[in-house]
Structures are given as structure tokens and as C-alpha cells.
């Protein structure tokens, strides 16, 4: 074809592709932006930012469901964001920056690192944006009106107790366990490991943690870590998977090596897929938090604070939700109740 026709075809293609991309972006907003809260009730509608770690993690998905429900009920607008796949401050910081640029009235933040996110919390404060921490915390809680989390220390202790029972701990015996974590900096992971270690030191000194590893909320990485440990430690007694993505990776590793029932697996977070595996004996126990409740409380606290004219009266500075141990002995009703709710 002649040069001009070729150029026209090519220009046509450019226009097509650009329009497709633009329309796609437009379509995506229609599909996935949060519905604005009920108007017409005469009540003021607040805009609340909510930034988590890895938004694909069912833990945070359940948190989103709880938060969205509460925002809809209160008539507030919720902007829920978080890197799709990676739990890290490098990916979370740009997102928090952009959400803050939207000038929300409040921000619920699950910080991936207590120091890296501290300056952003300070910035939010100086802009008059109320901040709550959910799940994990920044180092300086004086800038935060409330910190809502599960009782991670207690969860770690409960995990130690359950682990000891599952491996048939006897005084004088020597046992090996490994611990899979998501992040060295998330305060949740740190607290759970602390609780676990303290309980072992106090009541089960024969248990030794032979390896720990990190997976940044990536189940595939967790799976690789645990596969390697299973090979490295043929006499391994138990695995403590400190969060849901590690639990998923660990369950897959055990099943693929046919070690179900031979190695005790204590996991965290009641993902539906993992809860089902309790019945199949893959998981000895799952420690369930209540992320939907945490999301609900975060939105509720921000709304209360803002409606009271930014006064902290009647607001709990620290809310700690208890963890539940789900095992073979848990009733079906309770299993259903504590499984993390997912988007429909």
C-alpha cells in the first residue's frame, strides 16, 4: 500500500487502541468504584480512605466487605485501595500518597511497616485527616485516634498451645517446628511470633524453631519456602503459618508431599478454602481473626469521631478483638460464623 494509506491504517489502529484503553478505564470505574453512600437523608456524608496491604488477600477482602457495609449504612463514601498482590511499604506508600491527595475526611490504614508509614500518618494529621490503624500499627500511636486489631500476641500463644497438643508434646522430648511469615515488619506478624516464642519458652522448652521465612503475602513464595523446609528437615513436627497466604502455601505443600496428618499445621486466618481443609485433616487448627469486624469498627470509629466534631470522647484508643481457634472440634455453625466473608 502507499505510504499515506499505510499511515492512515496505522493511525486508525492507534486511535482504536487508545479508545479501547480509555473506554476500558471508563468501564472499570463503573464496575468497581465504591457506591456512594445514601444521600438525601440530610446527614453529612464523609469520605473515608481505607488503605491495606495486599488487597487480594482474603483477610483484607473480608475487611473491605465489613467496611463497605458499615460505610453504606452510615452514608459515607469509602475509597478502598491497596496493592493487588504485594504486601510491602514500597508498594503501599504511593497508594497512601494518592489517597491523601484526595483530601478524605478520615483514613483507615493497615501499615505494612511501622516506620516507613509513620511520616505519612504525620502528614495526614497535619492536613487535619483523622487516622485509625487497622490490623497493624505505626510506631507512634499518639497520631492515631484508634488502633483496632486482633489479639496477635494471644493468637501466637494459642498457636503454641495447639501446636504442643497436636505434636503430642512430652517433657524431655525434642521437637522441630518452622514458622512462615509474610513480613518482618508487619506488627501483626511480629506480635504473633512473639506470643508463640514466649509460650514455647515458658511451657514447651522442647520445641525448637529451626527456620523462619517471609513471603510478602505471596502464597507461591510461602509454598516454595515450606517445600524446601520439608525436604531440609525430614523429622519436622509442625508448621506455624502465621498468616493466611502462608497457610495456603503450607497446605498445598503438605498435600503435594503426602504429609497430611504427619506434620502438624497450625495456620492463621479463616479463608474458606483453608477452613474446608480442617475437616480433611490438612490443618490441625486455624486461628481466626475477625477482619470484617475490624473493617466495620474502623469505619464506625472514624465516622463517630468526625460527627462529634473531631472529638475523641467515647472512642476506644485501642480495640483488641479476640482470636478464635478453629479445629475439628469446632461446631459447623461456628466454622461458618468465623470463615472470612468474601465479595459476592
Amino acid at each position: 500500500m502507499s505510504n499515506r494509506t499505510a499511515s492512515k491504517t496505522w493511525a486508525r489502529r492507534v486511535v482504536t487502541v487508545t479508545s479501547v484503553a480509555a473506554l476500558a478505564a471508563l468501564g472499570l470505574t463503573a464496575c468497581s468504584s465504591a457506591t456512594s453512600g445514601g444521600t438525601g437523608s440530610g446527614k453529612k456524608s464523609y469520605t473515608l480512605g481505607f488503605v491495606v496491604g495486599a488487597s487480594s488477600d482474603p483477610f483484607f477482602q473480608a475487611m473491605k466487605v465489613g467496611a463497605q457495609k458499615e460505610a453504606d449504612k452510615l452514608g459515607d463514601k469509602l475509597i478502598f485501595q491497596g496493592n493487588a498482590t504485594t504486601y510491602s511499604p514500597a508498594t503501599q506508600i504511593p497508594i497512601v500518597n494518592q489517597v491523601l491527595a484526595l483530601n478524605p475526611d478520615g483514613l483507615a490504614l493497615a501499615p505494612t511497616d511501622p516506620t516507613a508509614l509513620q511520616s505519612l500518618v504525620n502528614t495526614a494529621n497535619s492536613k487535619g485527616i483523622a487516622v485509625v490503624n487497622v490490623d497493624s500499627q505505626v510506631s507512634d500511636l499518639s497520631k492515631v485516634i484508634s488502633f483496632i486489631t486482633g489479639d496477635n500476641n494471644d493468637g501466637g500463644e494459642k498457636a503454641a498451645d495447639t501446636m504442643a497438643k497436636a505434636i503430642g508434646y512430652k517433657d524431655g522430648g525434642s521437637y522441630q517446628v518452622v514458622v512462615g511469615l509474610t513480613s518482618a515488619t508487619a506488627s501483626t506478624n511480629v506480635a504473633r511470633l512473639d506470643g508463640f516464642k514466649k509460650q514455647i519458652a515458658a511451657k514447651y522448652p522442647g520445641i525448637k524453631i529451626v527456620a523462619t521465612g517471609y513471603s510478602q503475602s505471596n502464597s507461591t513464595t510461602a509454598n516454595t519456602n515450606i517445600n524446601n523446609w520439608l525436604t531440609e528437615f525430614p523429622k519436622l513436627n509442625g508448621i506455624f503459618a502465621i498468616d493466611g497466604t502462608n497457610a495456603t502455601g503450607a497446605a498445598a505443600a503438605l498435600q503435594s508431599k503426602g504429609l497430611t496428618g504427619k506434620v502438624a499445621l497450625i495456620g492463621y486466618d479463616a479463608y474458606k478454602t483453608n477452613v474446608d481443609l480442617i475437616g480433611k485433616g490438612v490443618f490441625t487448627a486455624l486461628i481466626a481473626q475477625n477482619p470484617a469486624q475490624e473493617g466495620k469498627d474502623a469505619v464506625d470509629t472514624l465516622d463517630k469521631y468526625l460527627r462529634a466534631g473531631k472529638k475523641a470522647t467515647g472512642i476506644d484508643k485501642s480495640v483488641t478483638l479476640p482470636n478464635i481457634v478453629l479445629s475439628k472440634d469446632t461446631s459447623a455453625a461456628d466454622l461458618q460464623k468465623y470463615t472470612y466473608v468474601q465479595n459476592g
Partner: protein
């Protein structure tokens, strides 16, 4: 054809009149001219995106948002510019993500030590930057040695350093970030001159210099020569091996500098900081109009490609689109850009 009366032809964008006396071949339509120059096309697409996002949420037009976009753009622009040099030679540097991480982490250790010893912030940051760039140069040297002496193709060589670098970062840090550096570090990443932060300003200066280097200086001409035809380049007296080594070291240095920029953003050296950044850098270079076969690239295109990517990421957050869609849209852009580049190549061969 001169002297013939004007012929009205329809194009997709409307009726185009032929001015009398001008042969058809020498007058490409405006859309074709824009499409012929990747950089101008990118400007158009960026403007379209900005308008789109602004219409969907007017807060997009604020200085704060622009500032955020530039803060995100700065490290991407740095590694993409380094990567451009490499891609022009027909090679590829997959290691830049890990190089960023390792440089950031080692510089963090150095700075923590200096701050702990009571040295002034400014000096600590300066030395930290030099350390980061130095480590980047070191990784680049390893790449060059693998390519020149171990005879590995660039893809394999840089893949190896990518993996090794990531591993080294985790081993050195134990998985957690390295803090303890100058307390004023994070403040430097904050925009102060309108949307411009210190990193953004410095990066703009650096990439302009790099652009002149690639397109005007002899170093750049040699780079294009090697990418166009390495054989001919050797025949004309260029020491290809030496030059290739320099290019990979340069790429490493840019990645090291980007590591320092991320250090400022995070206030610490994080072992996960550069994860996946190599693909973003290559995407920026491809969107900028480079040919992965070598010999064709444009620093302006790369810079705009990086700007397009950061504008897109920020915009999708501002209009509250689920983060997962970001990757799909970026993939469409890369495909479109690469397709255009291929068509342009066929176009040139036919004319």
C-alpha cells in the same frame, strides 16, 4: 503529478484536500505524523488520560496529585533511561530491579552507620548516594563480565544477577528494612516547588543530560551503531566489548541512583523495594518506542513512557478503580506501543 488539480480523498479523520503541486507521497496526514513520532503520540495519550481522569474526578488536577505522580515517576525514569542505553545495543538488563534493591539496602547500612556516628545529614546522604551508585556500577560490571567473558547472552546474564541480587538483599537484611539513617531523609521526597520534589528535580536534570548523551555524544552514536549492526561497528573501529561493558555499568548506576530515591521515599532500605521494577522499566522503554532488537530508541520516548505509567497508576487510584485493572491496561499499552514500533519499521523498509 505536479500540475494536476487537487484530489479530494477521504481519510478516517475527515476529508483531506491535496494542495496543488504537492506530490502525494510527501505529505503525510497529521494523524500519521503524530503516529510516526512515538514521543508526540505519547504526549497525546498522556493528555487524553489526564483529561479522562480529571473529568471523572476533578481532584486529579491538583498539585498534590501531580506531585505524587512525579515522585513515583522519578525512580522509574532513572532505571528506564539506563535500560534504554542497554536496549539500544540490542541487549537487555533484567537485573535493574534487584540492583535497585541491593544498592538501597547497602547504602542504608552505610548511612545508618554514619548517622549513628553523628555525621551531619547532608554529608551522610551524599555519601549514601555515592554508595548506591557505586553498588549499581558493581552489579553492572558483573553483568558486563558475564556477557563479555562468560559469553552469556544479556537475557541470561542479567537474569542471573536479578536473582542473585534479590537474594543478597534478603540475606543482608534478614528480610526486614534497614533504617537508622538521617532523619531528614523522608522529608526530601516531599514536593516543595509546586509538584516538584528534590528527587524529581534532580531526575529531570539527569535524564535530560542522559538524553543529550545518547543522542548527541559520541558515546551515544557508538551505542546506536552497535545496536544497528555490531559487526559493522567493530569493523569501523569501535571496541564493542568495552562499549557494551560501559553500557551495562551505566544501567547499573542508574538503578543504584533509583535505589537512593526509593530510600528517600521509604526512609529505609527495603529488601522488597525494587521487586518487579525491571518489567516496569522495560515497559516504559518499549512504550517509548524502542525496538527490543536494538538500534532504535528515544530517551524522550522513554521518559514519556515512564510518565504515562505513573500517571496511569495514580489516575486509577484517584478514580477508585480496583488495583488489579492497572496491570491489564498497562499490558494493552505495551502491546499497542510495540505494534506501532513494528509497523513503523515495516513502513520504513517499504518507503
Amino acid at each position: 503529478m505536479s500540475g494536476s488539480s487537487p484530489v479530494k480523498t477521504k481519510s478516517v479523520n475527515g476529508v483531506v484536500d491535496e494542495p496543488p503541486g504537492v506530490p502525494r507521497e510527501r505529505r503525510p496526514s497529521l494523524p500519521a505524523r503524530i503516529a510516526g513520532n512515538q514521543a508526540s503520540l505519547l504526549v497525546l495519550v498522556i493528555i487524553l488520560l489526564v483529561v479522562l481522569f480529571g473529568v471523572l474526578n476533578p481532584i486529579f488536577f491538583s498539585l498534590g496529585v501531580a506531585g505524587n505522580i512525579l515522585v513515583q515517576w522519578a525512580p522509574i525514569a532513572l532505571i528506564a533511561v539506563g535500560e534504554t542505553f542497554v536496549i539500544v545495543t540490542g541487549g537487555i538488563d533484567l537485573s535493574v530491579g534487584s540492583t535497585l534493591t541491593v544498592s538501597s539496602v547497602i547504602a542504608a547500612f552505610a548511612m545508618a552507620g554514619m548517622t549513628g556516628a553523628g555525621w551531619p545529614d547532608g554529608l551522610v546522604l551524599l555519601i549514601g548516594t555515592l554508595v548506591a551508585i557505586g553498588i549499581g556500577a558493581l552489579v553492572g560490571t558483573i553483568n558486563a563480565l558475564l556477557i563479555n567473558f562468560a559469553k552469556l547472552v544479556p537475557f541470561v546474564a542479567s537474569l542471573a544477577t536479578l536473582g542473585a541480587g534479590a537474594g543478597v538483599a534478603v540475606v543482608l537484611t534478614g528480610g526486614g528494612p534497614v533504617a537508622g539513617g538521617p532523619p531528614s531523609a523522608q522529608g526530601l521526597a516531599v514536593p516543595w516547588l509546586g509538584p516538584l520534589s528534590w528527587p524529581a528535580i534532580i531526575v529531570i536534570v539527569v535524564v535530560v543530560i542522559a538524553g543529550l548523551f545518547l543522542h548527541k555524544a559520541r558515546f551515544g552514536r557508538y551505542t546506536f551503531a552497535i545496536g544497528g549492526n555490531a559487526f559493522a561497528a567493530t569493523a569501523s573501529g569501535i571496541s564493542v566489548r568495552k562499549h557494551v561493558a560501559k553500557v551495562y555499568i551505566l544501567s547499573g548506576m542508574f538503578a543504584g541512583a533509583a535505589g537512593m530515591v526509593l530510600y528517600l521515599q521509604l526512609g529505609s532500605g527495603s529488601p522488597s523495594a525494587g521487586y518487579g521494577e525491571e518489567l516496569i522499566a522495560i515497559a516504559a522503554v518499549v512504550i517509548g518506542g524502542a525496538s527490543l532488537a536494538g538500534g532504535a530508541a528515544n530517551i524522550g520516548g522513554t521518559i514519556l513512557g515512564a510518565l504515562l505509567l505513573s500517571t496511569l497508576t495514580s489516575g486509577l487510584i484517584i478514580i477508585n478503580v480496583d488495583a488489579n485493572w492497572n496491570q491489564i491496561v498497562v499490558a494493552i499499552l505495551i502491546a499497542a506501543a510495540a505494534s506501532l514500533q513494528a509497523l513503523r519499521g515495516i513502513h520504513r523498509r517499504k518507503s
